[in-house]
Amino acid sequence: MSDTPAIELRKINKRFGSVHANKDIDLVVGKGSIHGIIGENGAGKSTLMSILYGFYQADDGDILVNGNKVIIPDSKAAIGLGIGMVHQHFMLVDNFSVLENVVLGAEDSQMLSGGLARARTELKRLEEEYELRVDPDALIQDLPVGLQQRVEILKALYRSAEVLILDEPTGVLTPAEADHLFKILEVLKNEGKTVLLITHKLREIMAATDTVSVMRRGEMVATRETKNTSMEELAELMVGRSVLLRVDKKPAEAKAPVMEVENLTVTDSRGVQVVKDVSFNVRAGEIVGIAGVSGNGQSELLETLSGIRRATKGTLKINGETIDLGTSTLDAADMRAKNMGHVPEDRHRMGLINSFAEYENSILGYHRDPAYSKGWLMDLAAIRKNAVAEIEKYDIRPPSPMLKTANFSGGNQQKIVLAREIERDPEVLLVGQPTRGVDIGAIEFIHRRIVELRDEGKGILLVSVELDEIRALSDRVLVMFDGRIVGERGANAEEGELGLLMAGVEDNNKNAAEGGAR
């Protein structure tokens, strides 16, 4: 490590309208180090990096690269200064080959052939130097995301980047791919490159970085040597108060079943059975977690129970009423009318209309409720009053019901959905991926709220691909694999044991477990 820092930011400020996204940010990034920047969603990390990469201009403040004051008016200038960026959403052209993507913007001459040939040899060299193997002729759309990310890194290296910014690089990766990425970053560091790693995941910071800076609400609140800090300290710095990394709850007091599913089978549009003869129940006052690797039928199960998808056969008993799901024509509105709330897995696709104002989304699906209408017109005053109440109760920020939902952060969007479903006082709540893309402070809040609902004596069915979440919240865990429930465990199930079940390893003590939990 040499003495001149690779990057130094002094008093950077950036405002978007009334939002002060970056306030007097100072940052020093040492040469040849992996420097993490951690903060909740909306803390201003991405804005700061976009300023460094020339995507936005700072309102004031100085940027120094290798000790020299520079102005970065656009990405071209950033590239010229040896700064490369791997964006959260990859900046790749899907139907181009790897080679074409690498060359784009750095073609050398008007004719393509020369640039492509040069890139091919250069890629080979980079491949060997950094162990970044990718077939240069493969189309991006055919590559798994882990490899697509590798192409992004190669793009930066091809432009001889000395500083590499990675914005939430592991969001789309499997744990194994993420580990591989960290190995690559280590190699880059050993070759003398500087890496800036932006993330909101504490575990990654601890695993991969040398130094970590914490941002909170647009401010840089601390910088620590990674080896001298802890997850707890960082979490506290991020949120501004101490955070429980686990959920505090008392044992469940489960009562009679409120929802019973029997022999449910679901076939998808391709004619493939995605849910196979599934039976289980959810009792009042307990949280039943469905664990499983994404794509093993959990989504379809949730969609069928909430009335979005049709089953081929099976029955559902809810509130004492028996519904034949094979023949029922009940839709999502009918299911809601049966006192079943639904927090869908994908809030953008199914939970919210992003271009609607917050108050409009706060009654979506319940808009026929007489409480919100005057005859066939909407009762705007009642709707807004309700929205304001929910905003206050769920600490939704910013507290403006008229704001477009798209302008809320992921955590606050999720709170809007959760508030809408929980405040209708359902007997059964179906919850899918409640904390996907949600920052740590909001996760804590959402988990607490779900447990509170349980303690009020409601039944909750939780589907999540985050094993930590399943283990933290569930009183009973059902594991789904290939459309079937392959095992059931109690509240204190071992992570390794669940992991094996999720991977489809045969459950040896199935009967014992079932006997124990019922």
Partner: protein, 322 residues
């Protein structure tokens, strides 16, 4: 029989030329992500500009330049609305069509007082047929003779330009730096932006290329195939070119074949008038005129492969606020 096939093919080439020029024009624009429903309007504007200037100067070349200038001007208008101001590209295109239809007729009537038409072109105001060497001598040689002297020889310059534009466009698109960036910006403008290339300037260049080719297409109608501008003389050929572009899946060589096919249907339709077919009897002309559209609809419905437009087509580029 052979002779009538040659005649049909010959008129296929003539009918296809403006379609092909407009189709390639649309290809540049749409490949860059700017949907251009205003091909029709640009062609019409160019036809008028070319007709008027060629009449006043008695110079076909100045006419062509004027046609190109008018068309590029309309293209820049489309660019200003849809690239700079991120407006809806369809609305802007439709507006250009209306603007061109109304303005050409109005100006034509004001300036020349012939019901919106421009006067018949003087000598030198038209692109004349180019007769290839030995065309006359070879005329009577069987097979090769008619092919050479009827089909290949004897078209005006713009016809040859149109067909030369096909390999040129292919080369630009797939072998040049500009082409790589053009294709990229139509698929993922953010990737282009982060690579340090200006999305705006790139799309403007595409729109200008589109304007230039539409200028050729319009000029062809008024000062090469015809002798002067007539009100609404494009008669939907801009839309036909758009259909051909979809039919060709946004590829230049396919575009040529699509335009030739559409041209062939049109040419044979005219010839088949009054001809009795076995079983079905006489077919009305409209059947042939409708066929290109029917084929395009069948294509879009997924019966002839899949037509996937450039991913970012129609979407104005806006840097996301993080």
């Amino acid at each position: 029989m052979f002779e009538s096939i040659i005649l049909i093919l010959d008129s296929t080439v003539r009918v296809s030329t403006p379609l092909l020029l407009a189709c390639l024009a649309g290809l540049y624009s749409e490949r860059s992500g700017v949907v251009d429903i205003g091909l029709e309007g640009k062609m019409l504007g160019a036809a008028f500009g070319a007709g008027a200037v060629a009449y006043l100067t008695a110079n076909a070349w100045l006419g062509l330049l004027a046609g190109i200038a008018v068309s590029i001007g309309l293209g820049l208008l489309h660019g200003f609305a849809s690239i700079t101001n991120r407006g809806n590209q369809i609305v802007s295109g439709v507006a250009i069509n209306f603007l061109a239809a109304g303005l050409t007729a109005l100006l034509g009537q004001t300036w020349f007082r012939q019901g919106g038409r421009t006067p018949s072109l003087p000598e030198g105001g038209r692109f004349r047929e180019i007769v290839w060497p030995f065309a006359e001598q070879l005329r009577d040689v069987p097979v090769i003779g008619p092919l050479y002297s009827e089909l290949l020889s004897g078209h005006n310059l713009l016809v040859y330009c149109a067909f030369l534009a096909v390999p040129l466009t292919w080369w630009v698109l797939f072998r040049s730096r500009f082409g790589l960036r053009l294709r990229a910006v139509g698929e993922n403008p953010a990737a282009v932006d982060t690579a340090g290339i200006s999305v705006t300037w790139l799309r403007y260049r595409a729109v200008i290329a589109c304007g230039a080719l539409c200028g050729f297409a319009g000029s062809y109608l008024s000062i090469a195939a015809g002798s002067g501008f007539g009100v609404n003389m494009t008669a939907g050929q801009g839309f036909m070119a758009l259909a051909a572009l979809i039919f060709a899946k946004w590829r230049p060589v396919n575009a040529m074949f699509a335009c030739l096919l559409f041209g062939f249907l049109d040419a044979s339709g005219t010839r088949m008038q009054g001809v009795e077919f076995p079983v079905i009897g006489e077919l009305p002309l409209q059947v042939f005129q409708a066929l290109p559209y029917v084929l395009t609809v069948i294509l879009l419905a997924g019966f002839i492969g899949k037509a996937i437009p450039p991913k970012a087509a129609g979407v104005p580029y806006l840097k996301e606020r993080s």
